[in-house]
């Protein structure tokens, strides 16, 4: 049981790692309750990724570099995690290394079942304690109070037989729960956290590498603008030349139209001038005669 309790610290260690992580990003956060949830942790990680990315250099002007400001980049030769792992390796070398004789002196393991007992609860070893010294395993002293022993152990025996099994089961269940809560779950959580970290960071690196497209596009924009300017120049030359030619065409057509108009006017005017009043009267008279002849026939 005591050994199990010590494992709470692994849980704590995982928690402090998470806390550290959150502090890195948020600077200060009083909401400690939330850090226990892995979901929240995921959110924080995503936040971390968003700070950088393809437009990270553009964002520099909009959002403060919270993450980069707190973690001194590349300054640590060995991370805290690496140090911790090194410590684990050292301990592993001491307790499970080649110098440790695990064959003759195996590691004591907390037994699942209790050892052999007498009378239902007295450990066997207590009786064997005297054997090497006295040659016998027990010395019974029968005095006038011995009658109580019979009653006392009788009661113990009855209790062990009636509620002992249930009591043992209850305690075992409790122990299992403690192991689950303080060892299995934290280890699982730590593993999930690490896997998540690997995934999120790989994604972040992949997205960061997308910056090459940004710079390519930026350079391309310059080329596109130059091309547009060049094409505008071509268009300008074309339009200027064509405008001049069209101008001459227009001048020619105007000239010709004016000449035609002038000639028509001149001819009409000359013809009108050539008609005398006598010719006009004769013309009218012949017209009336024609009308009269037409009226008769109608």
């Amino acid at each position: 049981m005591l050994c199990v309790v010590r494992w709470t610290t692994l849980n704590e260690w995982v928690k402090t790692q998470q806390e550290k992580h959150v502090h890195k990003q948020q600077g200060n956060n009083a909401d400690d309750e939330d850090h226990n949830h892995l979901g929240n942790e995921r959110k924080e990680r995503n936040f971390l990724v968003i700070i950088r990315g393809v437009f990270g250099t553009l964002l520099k002007n909009h959002t403060p570099f919270r993450v980069l400001a707190v973690i001194p980049a590349g300054s640590r030769s060995k991370s805290e995690v690496a140090k911790q792992i090194e410590q684990w390796d050292k301990a592993q070398q001491i307790f499970y290394g080649p110098e440790r004789d695990t064959k003759n002196f195996p590691h004591p393991v907390q037994p699942v079942e209790s050892g052999k007992v007498r009378l239902g609860f007295i450990p066997e070893e207590w009786f064997q304690f005297l054997y090497p010294k006295t040659g016998v395993t027990e010395i019974w002293v029968v005095d006038h109070g011995f009658a109580e022993v019979i009653g006392f152990y009788g009661a113990i025996f009855v209790l062990t037989k009636t509620v002992g099994g249930r009591l043992a089961k209850w305690m075992d269940d409790k122990n299992d729960k403690v192991i689950e809560e303080r060892y299995a779950k934290p280890v699982e959580k730590a593993k999930a956290m690490c896997q998540e970290a690997v995934k999120a960071n790989e994604q972040a690196i992949w997205q960061e590498e997308g910056q090459k497209y940004l710079w390519e596009a930026k350079k391309e924009h310059v080329a596109l603008q130059l091309e547009a300017a060049y094409r505008r120049r071509l268009d300008q030359v074309y339009k200027e030349v064509k405008n001049r030619l069209d101008y001459h065409m227009e001048v020619q057509s105007v000239k010709r139209r004016f000449e035609q108009q002038h000639m028509v006017n001149w001819i009409v005017k000359s013809v009108k001038q050539s008609i005398t009043p006598q010719q006009e009267q004769e013309n009218i008279r012949s017209c009336i005669a024609t009308l009269n002849s037409l009226a008769k026939t109608a």
Binding site: F55, V81, L214, Y230, V237
Partner: protein, 171 residues
């Protein structure tokens, strides 16, 4: 003449879009529309000098010598390709270099985190099981956490209650 003549964008925009984090998609959209704008501006005008039917004008106009002169000039005209006078490309390259350094640092950090996580994943199963762990082993595995008389702590002995912790002033 030009180093290269572009009519369409050569950047792989779909691949680019995939690499943009969700929160930066708006920036991406704005950037893409800028690019579309530039491409449209290019396509506003013809790619080459358009042909003019000089024979038509020669037939209509009474002074073919002038038209000839126009034709000669038009066919031999050399239009200079605009140059990047303010050296924008070099400026962009400088910016790129700077950004690349920041990016490199960032990637190194992310890589460090990946390495750390993988290291923990590889080692976490080799820790002794709870029913095998003794106080002595514990002190070796977690020297920071084990009871150490050299570094006493205040009750209730949890990190955030200790002086110097960022949250200690809240309590």
């Amino acid at each position: 003449m030009a180093a290269r003549r572009l009519a369409v964008s050569a950047v792989d925009w779909t691949a680019f879009k995939q690499r943009v984090p969700p929160r930066q998609q708006e920036f991406f959209k704005a950037f893409k529309s800028k690019n579309d704008n530039f491409v449209n501006r290019v396509h506003q005008y013809p790619a080459d000098l358009p042909k003019i039917d000089f024979s038509y004008y020669k037939g209509k106009l009474p002074f073919p010598a002038l038209v000839d002169e126009f034709q000669k000039g038009y066919e031999n005209v050399s239009i200079p390709y605009p140059t990047d006078k303010s050296n924008t490309v070099r400026e962009i390259e400088n910016q790129e270099k700077e950004a690349l350094e920041v990016s490199k640092k960032f990637r190194a950090e992310r890589q460090q985190e990946i390495d750390d996580a993988k290291l923990v994943l590889s080692k976490i199963d080799s820790l002794p099981k709870p029913d095998e762990m003794t106080m002595e082993m514990y002190a070796y595995y977690f020297p920071e956490k084990a009871i150490n008389p050299q570094r006493p702590t205040f009750w209730p002995h949890i990190p955030k209650m200790q002086p110097g912790h960022p949250d200690s002033h809240l309590i």
